[in-house]
Structure formats: structure tokens, C-alpha cells
């Protein structure tokens, strides 16, 4: 499975044509303790770069953009149940946000791989 990263600190992992999306470890650390997240309804479609979700700490709110185009097929039930801590505990694992049915695989090519993202974060 390949994982790709965006400059807005989302990650996307492809399994067949299903893309799992979340925020990166770096983003979660910058944000601090998550107190709220708003996820889209399954069935909604997004274009790459659209506002897709919102994640908030006590003092900041960040938009989460769709890293690739596609239709929401599943959202993380733990987050829906207000288990916000899961995002801080494992942003790139159990703290994933949504699963998208990927519309266009080539969109992934423009995103960073793990090494490139690590370099990008170092430069911030």
C-alpha cells in the first residue's frame, strides 16, 4: 500500500480503489488536543482540494481538504462517537477520518511520498 502526503498535512493511503484519509502526525502535534471534528456524510463527493472536514483544538480550527477526488464510502465511527483522543493517539493509524472511493488515480502522482513529506516538514 502506498501512502502519499499533501502540503496541508493530510495523508492518503490506497487499498484497491479505496483511499483512506487522515491528518499527519505533524498536523496532530501542531493542533494539540483535539476537542471536535466534523466529518462529511457518506455518499458525498469531493474534488481534490475541496474543504472536506474540520478538526479543532480548544484554540484553533483547521480545515481538512480532500487530498484526492472521490466519494465518501465510510467515516471513522470512533470519531463520530466523539472519541477525539483517537486522533491524537494515532493520527496515521486508528485516527483516520474517512474512506473515499477514488475517482482518478493519477491525482496521487502529484502528492509527496513519505521521504519528500519528511523533508517538507523539516523545512517548516
Amino acid at each position: 500500500m502506498t501512502t502519499r502526503y499533501t502540503k496541508d498535512h493530510e495523508w492518503v493511503r490506497l487499498d484497491g480503489d479505496i483511499a483512506t484519509v487522515g491528518i499527519t502526525q505533524y498536523a496532530a502535534e501542531q493542533l494539540g488536543d483535539v476537542v471536535y471534528a466534523e466529518l462529511p456524510e457518506p455518499g458525498r463527493s469531493f474534488k481534490q482540494g475541496d474543504d472536506m472536514a474540520v478538526v479543532e483544538s480548544a484554540k484553533t480550527a483547521s480545515d481538512v481538504y480532500a487530498p484526492v477526488s472521490g466519494e465518501i464510502v465510510e467515516v471513522n465511527a470512533e470519531i463520530k462517537n466523539e472519541n477525539w483522543q483517537i486522533i491524537n493517539d494515532g493520527p496515521e493509524a486508528d485516527g483516520w477520518f474517512v474512506k473515499l472511493k477514488l475517482a482518478d488515480k493519477t491525482e496521487l502522482d502529484a502528492l509527496m511520498d513519505e521521504a519528500a513529506y519528511a523533508d517538507y516538514v523539516k523545512g517548516l
Binding site: G32, D33, V35, Y36, E56, S57, A58, K59, E82, W84
Partner: protein, 506 residues
Amino acid sequence: MTPPTTSGNRGLLQAEPLIFETGHATGAGVDLPEPKGAPTKLNGLTRKAALDLPGLSEPETMRHFVRLSQKNYAIDLGLFPLGSCTMKHNPRLNERAARFEGFADLHPLQPVATVQGALELMDELAHWLCTLTGMPAVALSPKAGAHGEFCGMLAIKAALEARGEGRRKRVLVPSSAHGTNPATAAAAGFTVDEIPARDDGRVHLDDVKAKLGPDVAAIMITNPNTCGLFEPEIRRIADAIHEAGAYFYCDGANYNAIVGKVRPGDLGVDAMHINLHKTFSTPHGGGGPGAGPTVLSAALAPFAPVPHIVLRGRTRELREHAHGTQAFGRMCAFHGQMGMFTRALAYMLSHGSDGLRQVAEDAVLNANYLLARLKPHFSAPFGERPCMHEVLLDDSSIKPKGVETIDMAKALLDEGYHPFTTYFPLVVHGAMLIEPTETEPKRELDRFAEVMIALAGRVNAGEVEFFKQAPKLTPMRRLDDTRAARQPKLRWRRGDNSAGARQAAE
């Protein structure tokens, strides 16, 4: 931590539970005549829902709120250098005047013949505001700064529509702006196009020109800006905006730096709100009430919201309905914040044209004095040039040592100061925005500077834990914002676990 006391009090500081934990439904601090018990005219719609409101006798009420008050910092207690907020002395004459029976005991809908003095006061306030700003008109009714912004942007919208250019929807807002600017533009139905920050903290004519187009409705610029700098290209930016057929909204939050020295009207401003609770010293009251009269250029004046005061001979009348006029509508019921008008006018009359000019000069002098004293010890990103009435520091001299802006702020609490504004503006990292105002004497500035310099010394000495543990001497230690936001508890409910009360008393 100091050892706990049996009472929960600490010297003068009294522990105090909620009124809901001490009062009861049959307690009261008022003596009212007994109702006669006449049958009601409510046809059965009497209250069935429980009220369950606690009542306290007058002595208990006094103690409760006096005890609470003692847990607050206030400008009357010490320097309150909260950037962007202009926490200056609030003269008590103003409080007295606002309570004159002839102002406080007037109903907004009394026949106009019985309120001529109130209308005259509003006219006089308008005259002062227009003369000081060099603008032809003012809408007095907006109830706060953001409400004034809304008024100004709605006037712009109405003017565009009257010109048949309602298609102009884009509003330019620099990234250094107060959050109210983009929020207001959005509330008024515009889209926000951000002008990115430059390294010198200023808005550049070239950047504005690059954004201009036939769909631009307005630009919203704070001047002096939120970095504490006067925008040197402001006049040329205004000209470029006007040439492009758009309007110039100026956020007047920082007007205190230039009152009596510079007239916004001379800079090409079309609309600007004036926070009477900042520049003209109506008290902040723990978060309000404010007042945000909005001055308007000749191009926007016809669209000012009702009510309008109309002079007929020697009598003042009120035009209260927009119908049949060009007024864009109404900002609120009635005529605005009369209580604030009286206070602001008392402040203006007291200072006069000479005193107001001195206000701006002393505010700017005090800030530059603090800048000069702090610059060797902190990072002042735009510190090579004079500032206006605010000093902006960033965290680049403390963060590498492990101390954040928030830690610096909390250490100031233990030193007996309200901190500066933290993390605003967003265009520098870890902003500390210091606004001393003109009502601070030099010795208070020196004392504050010495505290800041000593704290910088502690940062350099690597005393990170000292900062992370602060504050230790305040009525409360650092409060858990995450807990408050994750499981919001926003009110008392009967049956609440009284553990909180016991803790408060401990």
C-alpha cells in the same frame, strides 16, 4: 502550592460557590408589595415549567459579587497592555454623566419633544466624530466594533447596488486583519480574498493592484495596522481602490494612535467604525457593552441606516423608517448605545482638541519608549522603525530556549500584570502585542519593562520549568481548555454533583 486552609479562603481572597449552591427559591433580596391575587388575563398560559432560580438577600448578594470581583484583574489595578484593545483609564465623570436622570431614565420611544437634549447630545457627538475624522457623516447606531464594520460594509453594498454594480462581490482583506473583518465581509454576503503578509508587516500597493478587478467591492484595512505600524502607502492604496471602482473600509480599532493628529478622511477612507470603548474610553466592563459608530464618506452617506436625526428649525426629529429613503436598513431596535454616547462625549469635552491630540502623541510615545527598552532583550520584528501605539514582539528569542509566548504571558500573571495580546496578529510567529496607552505614567512603564527584561533573563538562564509552572500566585492556576471544550458544561443543573462546590471551597 501554599498549604490549604480550613475555610478554603486565602487571606483576602474568599472562596465562593455558585449562587445555585447557596441560594434557594424562597430567598430574596427585594421586598415587593404582595400581589392582590386578582384573576389573570392569561387564559391558562401561566408558567408550568420550573423556575428554580436561587435568591439571595442583599448582604449575601453583595458579598457574592464582591468576592467574585476580587478574582478579576482590571485597569484600575494596574497596567493592562492588551494590544488592539486600548485598555486606558475610564474617567468616573463619564459614569456619573451617563447616569443623569435626564439620560438614563429616557425611553427610546418617548415623544421627540421630550428628548430634545438627548438628540442634541447625539448630534454633538456626531459633530465631534465627523470633525476629528474629517468625514461628512456618521451612523451612530452600531452597537460594537464588529457591528460598525457590518454597517460600513452594508453601506458599501448599498452604494454598489445603487450604481448597478451589485455583481462586485470580492473584498480584499490583508492576512494581518482582525478576525472580525473577514467574518463581517462574509456576513455581508461578500467573498474574502486575502492579501498575503509581507516581511515588513505592511500592505503594499503592488499587492493590492495585483488583486484589483471589476469584481472587487472593497478593501478592508486596519490603519494603524495590527502590527502597530502606520501604512505608509495608505493614500495611494485608497486612490488605486477608488480608480478600480471599489471602496475603502478602514478598521478604526487603532484610531487611538492618530486621533487629533491624522484625519482618516484625508487618507481616502469611505467608511470607518470607531470603537467608543477604545479610543473614547467607555469602560470595557468584562466584555462589553461597546459602541461602534461608523463614519461615512460623501459617497456612502446617503445609505446610512435609520434612525437619522433631522433638524427642523430648532427642533430635532427622528426619521425611523428606511422606506422611501436610500437608507440600507436598520442595525438594531432604537438609536444605539446612548449610555456610551454620553460617556464618550464627556471624554471628548474633557480632553478637547488639544487633549485628544496629546492622547495620540502620548500613546505613541509610551509604546515607542517600551519598544526602545525591550528591543535589546526580545525580538521586535519591525523594531527598526518607530511603531505607533503598539509594540509587536515575536517568539524567536524565547522559543529556541523552550519558552512559548503563552508561558511568557502566564509568568506575567504572577508578576501582577495582565499580559499583552498573545498570538495576534497571525503574521508573525508567537506574537506578543503590547499596547500601554497614554494613561500610563513613566514609572509604570519602567516597572513593566524591568519585569519583562527580568523574564527575558530567566529565559536565557534556561529556567523553562519556571515558565511552564506559571502562574502559581493567581486565584487559579492554568485552566484546562481542552476539558472544557471536549465535554462542554455550560450551565448549572439541579442534581449536579456538588463535588465542584466542595472543590471550590477547599
